[in-house]
Subunit: 245 residues, 3 copies
Amino acid sequence: LQVLGFKGRLRASVLREALKALGVLVWKVRAHFTDNGLHVRAVNAENVAMVILDVPRKSFESYSGQNLTVGLDLDRLNESIKAFRADEIVEVAINESLTLKNGKITYRLPLINPKAIRRDPKIPELNLPAKIVMSVGEFKKIVKLAEEIADDVVLESDGDSFTIHAKGDLESMRATLTETKLIEFSGGKARSMFGVYYLKSFCKAANDKDKLTIYLGTDYPAKFVLDKSDFRVEYILAPRIEAEN
Amino acid sequence: LQVLGFKGRLRASVLREALKALGVLVWKVRAHFTDNGLHVRAVNAENVAMVILDVPRKSFESYSGQNLTVGLDLDRLNESIKAFRADEIVEVAINESLTLKNGKITYRLPLINPKAIRRDPKIPELNLPAKIVMSVGEFKKIVKLAEEIADDVVLESDGDSFTIHAKGDLESMRATLTETKLIEFSGGKARSMFGVYYLKSFCKAANDKDKLTIYLGTDYPAKFVLDKSDFRVEYILAPRIEAEN
Amino acid sequence: LQVLGFKGRLRASVLREALKALGVLVWKVRAHFTDNGLHVRAVNAENVAMVILDVPRKSFESYSGQNLTVGLDLDRLNESIKAFRADEIVEVAINESLTLKNGKITYRLPLINPKAIRRDPKIPELNLPAKIVMSVGEFKKIVKLAEEIADDVVLESDGDSFTIHAKGDLESMRATLTETKLIEFSGGKARSMFGVYYLKSFCKAANDKDKLTIYLGTDYPAKFVLDKSDFRVEYILAPRIEAEN
């Protein structure tokens, strides 16, 4: 059997969540179907945040075809994937267009020339002294709180605890999580400030019970990793400069 | 007991759903209270779709009075009926105004002179070769999908299956339902295109589990019938012309 | 232990609901922490409605400090209290600012100079012949109905029943509750008209199952009392003048 282009089958929910993880930063992506699975990496328009998505080959029910790179419009793809039930297996076929189908419904979408989409970024090597693992639900709750007060939020780690704080013109908030309240914690000294908008976005593709791993440095980009059962998404976020007080 | 005008009692939910079935096409109707029950038929302002509603006498707990025709403002009536619990029996009394009441609440609404409302349409005789019965939920799901792509949708029947397809400038979708996936199917050859907006509207008064019967011809008006346990509503929809490709 | 200012601990839900009860009429209040608990009273900007709130000392888990009066911005306070789970115990500390905290989260808000806030109103002595006790849910349902028809609603009591009616230009509604449908009823003759907007607001801090006690006179201010398990809120509302028919 000679397959032109690519053909794979996977659960609709996996595709939906993976697209959502990308969609918080970018609208068009170059998607690479390789021997290892689907790989996408992209930087947002403001050059502040990067997303790296991997849906491994084993998360697909079947997977065949040549290695290829195509341009995808996430917005339209998101609309289409809604047509399928979360637990349904969807066939994704790529040749001159992209086709999504199950036994009953066929959906055809145009591809974008990948050359019309910004080049893949180089993934930076980061040496980050603190590692914090917590539930997405917990992180989200604190970030939402901080958002009410300020646009920037400070993430800080010392030997004992991980702290998130925000300071508005009049109000302030501080949430301190000691080791016992975290899933895992190896806290080197680290402190960086980030845009709260980004921290909030990173949680969108995750469920409250998913684990979030944060790798943190001082005035340095941080990594936020979601290890979902069927795919992995990593965000790298540039710090903001803390003004002197 | 001499009853002037009309007096009937029925479950609030029946009245509410029947009004909703009308409301998707028209705002003011002539309602006929006859020996057989409540009958309404009306054409929408664009002359594209007709609705025929029958709430049989047996769907009322009690039903008495002369035959009469009154003008109703559906919008106001809809607001009022919300005051009653779905499973409550409501008394509908009509004399110089319309009164809705249960033991506790009395609601009085003005009537509209029926002469101020567009005349009842004549119901066309249609000879339609294909009959398709499916759940409203299934139909709705496919229509919603098609709506994302195009304003028009083609319904097509052949001996084997019923197909709904839509074609946008760039995208297309096709849902094919074979006989085993339909509740009932006697498929003559038929193919007509309709405004997707109307197909969507027709589902509004129905629950996902209700049965929808479609009678289809070729470039010809189609009938969409909802047989609810307490009333029947039939929509007749004019086709759109398919442009040559 | 010398406590400067005030420090008390109470369930987040109590604080949240009490603030909501105030918030329907005013945005900034003078709050008095006294030996008996928290007391607030205020009149709305239009001088039409007054609210009197009492959270007794026993509704706090702990309560210590001097008697003091502070100015609070309800809007900001409402946002902050959302950070705590309803059943969580929150520590409220007041010195130069207001701090809300549990073991993990600390929230700091500025205080307002109480002199910048309108003086506490004098509570009028009212002699009201009718007393009606009903569930908030029942009252809310009828008020919502009346709201569709008119801006004003008449509350009326006679020896037998309590009636709420509204009359629009074309429509009218009337809900009559006899003694058996009320929780308690000692109905002197009384009749006053009120703005339906206010009646609706008074229900916002209450659950449908809470009891509402109405004290009613004729063309006279009425009292609406919510006795929650942890606090008491009383609204006094000026009547509107019924135009002659």
